[in-house]
């Protein structure tokens, strides 16, 4: 093989390890060397585990064959790993060692994956840039003066630089797709309930989903196949078996006969030229691949951001109440229990987390509930209906992932509203619980990646990866990807 191990696909690694032509130690070492070289420039990881967390005798048996044997995987630091620090990017969980593995972590181990480390994120997944991390900001490897996106920024950087073959992130409102778009990756937000949330530290439970970063459709689908399938520990987990990877056709004709709807009216003002160009390239490629592209009408997404931030902050205000200094994590001793709560939370939470807890507490307060939370729930149902209706006549909807490519570090840090508005295209899928996949759509003249996304009907991630695979055949072979250049 002419290619270094760290550039290999998950499929090649898993096959090689299965056949005995690749040694897991060599695979892990190659990826660790990349991490060591890149970390000073990008700060993708909060914890690196030398040699990786390997499956041991306690690992579950996968239902079928092992799909990720020896594959180095990075995981976002809001997924619980037994005995390995899990901070959620927050000072309030500094030093916290979970006594159990998240279901997706158990399934990674069951499929033979090697967890190389825990990646940086905006504190409790609240943010779009990793600037809200309590442990420093990650940087975009394509331009280290820019953000990698967030909140799963560290996971994106790990896969983009090659220190992991695939990575897990989490989404509540675009936190996988947006950093994927900023770093030339595929980022999947599965259907709500497709991947178990057991062990994913909650931000907004009704929208949280574990997501997958990959450099190819095949690697992403393979990872989804390994991790999906009903989990009895999560009452919102979808019934039914895992995605059948072997039955999935990701060949040249993968998109033939599929219909893709474009909500043309949404793509008006404010859309960056490079993003608009990305949309045009992808539309053309879809047609070339044998798909039908047609316009669809959606209600204006003007209410999406407000709806999302009311519901997400309300749930967050409750989910984050448990971080009180009593049982685990940071504790600021005080004279009485109320002061202990106050001082612990004052010291442990960052500004954005506090802002969202306050917003959410307000939205749920007596006298305001109907006007805010109640109304937002109604709006959410309307958005669900609207997206579902648009998907009746087509297999997927095509949107930009973000209005602009990666922005500069510090550019929006002091303007929370501008930061929130950058989620405009991603949060629809989260509100509706639908699966969505961001795929690479070229680069700007300045060398920044651009992404677009597909949304499909519930549990139809297979269609999303088929569309992505068709684009790979039309536009660029993922194995010949444009890698970022390490700053000297």
């Amino acid at each position: 093989m002419s290619r270094p191990l760290w550039q290999e696909s998950a499929s090649t690694i898993a096959d090689g390890v299965d056949k005995g032509t690749l040694a897991v130690d060599d695979v892990v070492r190659a990826h660790e060397e990349v991490a060591a070289a890149w970390e000073p420039h990008v700060h993708a990881y909060l914890t690196r585990v030398p040699g990786g967390i390997r499956p041991d005798g306690s690992a579950d048996k996968p239902p079928g064959r092992k799909l990720l044997n020896g594959v180095p995987v990075a995981i976002k630091d809001n997924l619980c790993t037994k005995g390995v620090a899990t901070t959620c990017g927050s000072r309030i969980l500094e030093g916290y060692l979970p006594p159990y593995d998240a279901t997706v972590v158990r399934r990674l181990k069951a499929h033979g994956a090697v967890i190389v480390g825990k990646t940086n994120l905006d504190e409790f997944a609240m943010g779009s840039s990793t600037e809200n991390s309590g442990y420093g900001t990650s940087r975009n490897p394509y331009d280290v003066s820019r953000v990698p996106g967030g909140s799963s920024g560290g996971s994106a950087v790990a896969v983009a630089t090659g220190s992991a073959a695939v990575a897990l992130g989490s989404e509540t409102g675009g936190s996988v797709r947006q950093p994927a778009a900023f770093t030339n990756l595929l980022g999947l937000k599965p259907t709500y309930g497709r991947l178990s949330r057991y062990g994913l530290v909650a931000f907004a439970s009704s929208m949280d989903q574990v997501g997958i970063f990959s450099r190819s459709a095949s690697d992403g689908a393979r990872t989804l196949a390994a991790l999906s399938g009903h989990d009895p520990l999560d009452a919102t987990s979808l019934p039914g078996p895992a995605l059948d990877f072997d039955a999935l056709d990701l060949g040249e004709g993968a998109a033939r006969g599929l219909t893709v709807g474009v909500p043309r009216a949404l793509l008006g003002e404010g859309l960056d030229d490079d993003v608009a160009e990305g949309m045009r390239i992808v539309e053309a490629a879809l047609k070339a691949a044998g798909a039908t592209v047609r316009d669809v009408t959606l209600l204006p997404p003007s209410s999406w951001v407000a709806t999302y931030y009311l519901l997400a902050t309300a749930e967050a205000s409750s989910n984050l109440a448990r971080f009180d200094g009593i049982r685990y994590g940071l504790r600021k001793p005080a004279g009485n229990v109320l002061d202990l709560y106050r001082e612990t939370r004052e010291a442990g939470f960052g500004a954005e987390v506090k802002r969202r807890i306050l917003l959410g507490t307000y939205a749920l307060s007596a006298g305001y509930y109907e006007a805010y939370y109640g109304k937002a729930q109604k709006a959410r149902r309307r958005i669900q209906q609207d997206l579902t209706a648009a998907l009746e006549g087509c297999d997927a909807l095509l949107f930009p992932t973000t209005p602009t490519p990666a922005f500069k570090i510090g550019e929006k840090a002091d303007d929370p509203l501008a930061m929130y508005l950058s989620d405009i295209f991603t949060i629809g899928a989260n509100l509706a619980g639908l699966p969505a996949l961001s795929v690479p759509a070229g680069f700007t003249g300045g060398g920044l990646p651009v992404g677009v996304q597909f949304t499909a009907r519930a549990a139809r991630e297979d269609l999303l990866y088929r569309l992505a695979a068709a684009l790979e055949h039309q536009l660029s072979d993922p194995m010949e990807r444009r890698w970022p250049t390490k700053p000297s």
Partner: protein, 486 residues
Amino acid sequence: MAYETVLGLEVHIQLATKSKLFCACPNEFAGEPNTRVCPVCLGLPGALPTLNAGAAAMVARLGLALGATVHARSIFARKNYFYPDMPKNYQISQYDLPIVTGGALDIGTSEAPRPIPITRVHLEEDTGKSAHPEKHGDREETRLDFNRCGVPLAEMVSEPALRSPDEAFAYLTALRRLVRWLGISDGDMEKGSLRCDANVSLRPVGQEAFGTRSEIKNLNSIAGVRNAIAAEVLRQAELLDRGERIVQATLLWDQDKERLQVMRTKEEAHDYRYFPEPDLPPLLFSAEALAAETRALPELPLARARRFEKELALPAYDADLLTDARDLADYFEETVTAGAPAKAAANWIGNDVLRTLKETGGTLATFRETLPPKRLAALLVLAAGGTLSSKLARDLFAILLVEKGEPAELAQKHGLVQESDTGALLAVAEGVLDANPSVVADFLGGKDKALSFLVGQLMKQTKGRANPTVAQEVLREALGRRGAPR
């Protein structure tokens, strides 16, 4: 001024499931602190609840027994407040869509029904426990035990339809009987399996509008509930008599000092910020599941008491006594089915069986192993047939508790067979009269009472085996021969 007391009770019922409400930890009382816990009931980051369907079924059963509506769809909600023994700082409960609404708990007797309307019954999780602060080294510490965290609770709220502390007492007694009857809780208030909060207000007799209420918390015995409410009624009446205003407040009942303390007033009331629990889907009962639960519902205490009165001609007192517990009613009914006369069975079970249980401190379940209904019935049949006097029957009862064997055989073995032979008893009677000339003289002189002494002596001579009726007859006959017949 004369006031009417208006009471509503909120009772938390710990459900007797095998495991906790949202995790697989065992649902057991006490235990070493923090040994029956897992990531879910400790509310660790990332852990998620999954519903124990058995607990929901128990609430449905209670609802059906109350004649209430059991909703096909209900919603869990989060009740948000900070408390150190509640690890998530919210409680998973139900709010605007509980499992059960309506229905009534009858706190009366079979003769005098008194249905108390129920507002709702919902399902929620219990909290942990905070120990009283103690010195550990040079620091004062409060220690937390999370074993109880996540234990399933049914919260049952009554309408403000109770009118006296005695009615509150009757309500809790009836509820305790019902939950035990249905097998959904051990109903033990001292262990905290039933916990009661009482809403108390007064209004002038004849007035429609309710007065300002206070809520009494921390009531952990049925007698305590009565005492606390009585104290609060007195306090409110005194305030009203003085023309003062009642301030809406939450009070704590101090069991040891028998005193109420103010915990907080309305101004300090919580805003719990309820919202639908996103981690749990709506709780659904299919029509089939509810039909099955309805079919499985046992005959309820009052209905059974009325049937005992009607079909077995029992007095109301007996019927109510025997339906105090389901196993007691079962025991009675099985004894009757095995052939015992109903009234005799009621008397024997109501007196001798219950007394034995009380004296030995045993349960009916273990007692039945020694004296199954069939065996008791055999004894009662012997007694009814005249083979055994009631004295002999009691002797045989005592023997049955310690010796194996059929009652008839044991009666033979121990010589517990009634002597009704006139000739044999006459001989004994003559002997008794010979031995007691002065008593005989008394009787012949007109003292009727002397006869019972002589009967007693005859019984003594026959070791209690003489048929009392025959004994009297032969004594009169023998006495008649010694003087003027009377």
